[in-house]
C-alpha cells in the first residue's frame, strides 16, 4: 500500500505560540530547525479511518546524543519498554519512529514483538543498528498495530526525509490523535559564540497527566 502525502493528510491548524519570552529568538523549522536532523510524515493506513498522516520519522545525520523521559505508569506500552532498554545500552541514537492509531499498550508479548519488528525494519532501511532506534506509539490502547501496513511503509517513508520546515510539519501532524492543532516550535540561542537551535514537536489532548522520569 502506497504512502499518502497529499496536502489533505496534513491539514490541521497550528497551536498558538505559548513559549515564554527569554534570551532566545523564536524561529520556524520545528524538529528540523536544529542542524543535523531530517524529518518526514505520511499516511500509512495505521489509523482506524481517514487520511490524516499517521507515521512520522525523525533521523539524525549522525548518531546523536540521546536522553529520554518515560511514563512511570506500570502498564507502560511496548515502545516505552523498548526505548528504556535501548537507552540502557546506548546513548547515541539515529532515529525516532512514531505511529498514531494504536498505542501498542496492553498488547502483551505480541505487541512487544511488533515493536521490535518495526525497529528492525527501520534499522534495515537506514543501515543502522536497532540499538540506534527509538519508538513511540499513540492511539487506541489494547489494539495491536496494523503491521500489514506498518512494515511495508517503513522503507518507503525513509525515502521521503527532508530538512525543511514543511518536512518537520508533516512529522508534527503525523503524530497527532484527537489533537485539533499541530504542536511544534523552535528557538535560536547563542552558546559559546555559536548559534544553537532547539526544536521540537509534541502531541497530546486527552489522557494527559504526565508523570515521567
Amino acid at each position: 500500500k502506497a504512502l499518502l502525502m497529499d496536502a489533505e493528510c496534513f491539514t490541521i491548524p497550528a497551536a498558538p505560540d505559548l513559549i515564554p519570552e527569554g534570551p532566545w529568538k523564536k524561529v520556524a523549522g520545528g524538529v528540523c530547525a536544529a542542524q543535523g536532523f531530517k524529518a518526514t510524515g505520511a499516511h500509512a493506513g495505521l489509523r482506524a479511518s481517514g487520511k490524516k498522516a499517521d507515521l512520522a520519522l525523525v533521523v539524525a545525520d549522525a548518531p546523536a546524543t540521546a536522553a529520554g523521559t518515560f511514563t512511570q505508569n506500570v502498564m507502560c506500552a511496548a515502545p516505552v519498554l523498548y526505548c528504556k532498554d535501548v537507552l540502557k545500552r546506548n546513548q547515541k541514537i539515529k532515529a525516532v519512529l512514531t505511529n498514531a492509531g494504536q498505542a501498542n499498550a496492553a498488547t502483551g508479548t505480541l505487541g512487544y514483538e511488533d515493536a521490535v519488528a518495526t525497529a528492525k525494519a527501520l534499522a534495515a532501511a537506514l543501515g543502522c543498528s536497532t540499538d540506534e532506534i527509538m519508538l513511540q506509539s499513540t492511539g487506541v490502547i489494547g489494539r495491536r498495530m496494523k503491521m500489514e501496513n506498518f512494515i511495508p511503509a517503513i522503507p518507503e517513508i525513509a525515502k521521503t526525509l527532508g530538512a525543511s520546515t514543511e518536512d518537520a510539519h508533516r512529522a508534527a501532524v503525523a503524530i497527532t490523535t484527537t489533537d485539533l492543532v499541530s504542536k511544534e516550535a523552535a528557538l535560536q540561542v547563542q552558546i559559546g559564540g555559536k548559534t544553537v537551535h532547539v526544536g521540537g514537536m509534541c502531541k497530546g489532548s486527552g489522557m494527559i497527566h504526565p508523570n515521567m522520569a
Partner: protein, 220 residues
Amino acid sequence: TMLGVVTCDAAVAPELWTQMVKRASVASFNSITVDGDTSTNDCVIGLASGAAGNALVTDPNSADAKLLDSAVTALMQGLAKSIAWDGEGATCLLEIEVKGARSDDDARIIARSVAGSSLAKSAFFGHDPNWGRIAAAAGYSGIIFDQEDLGVQLGSMKLMEAGQPLAFDKATANKYLKDTCAKHGTVQVLVTVGKGPGKGMAWGCDLSYDYVKINAEYTT
C-alpha cells in the same frame, strides 16, 4: 497520551544532556494536566547532534549550560502548554502560579493540584470565579501550609487574601472568564500560600461537556 521529540544542534555532554531533558520534562510536561489520567505511552526523547560547532558543554554550572538548559525548558514549556490549551473539549488554558511555598517542588505540586481539580475546572467552564474550589484543591495537594496564609487571585482580581474571602466584583470576574474562554485564551490564577521562597507553575484546561463526548466515543 503525550509524546515529544526535541532536537538540538549543540554539542553537550551525554550526562548533562540527560539532566537537562529530565529537568525540562518535569518543569513542562510533568506540570500539565488535562484529565488526571497518566498514559501508558508518555515519552519525551531529546537528541543533540553537536552540529552547531560550539565547544562541548560539560560543566552544569557554566553560563552556557544554564542558558541551554533554560532554552530547552522554555521550548518544552511552550509545547506542553499547547497540549493543555488543546485539551479535549477545552475552551481555555489554565495557568496556575503558586508563590510563597517552602520549595519550588511544593509550589508545583500545589499548582498542579489546582489545575487538575475537576470542580475548579468545571467552574472555569461555567465562568464561575469559584475561589472556594481553588482553595480546596490547594489544601488537599498534600503540601502543608497555614490556611491563614492563603491568597487567591484571578487575573488581576484578588478573590481571597490571608485566608479570608474578599468582597470582589463577581460580575467583573465572571466577564473575565467569559471573555477569555470566548477567544480560547489563558485564564491566570495566582495562589499564595505563605512567605516561602518556593514558586511554581502548572497548566491545565477547563472541563466541558465535550470532554465526555469525545471519550465516550473513543475505544478503549
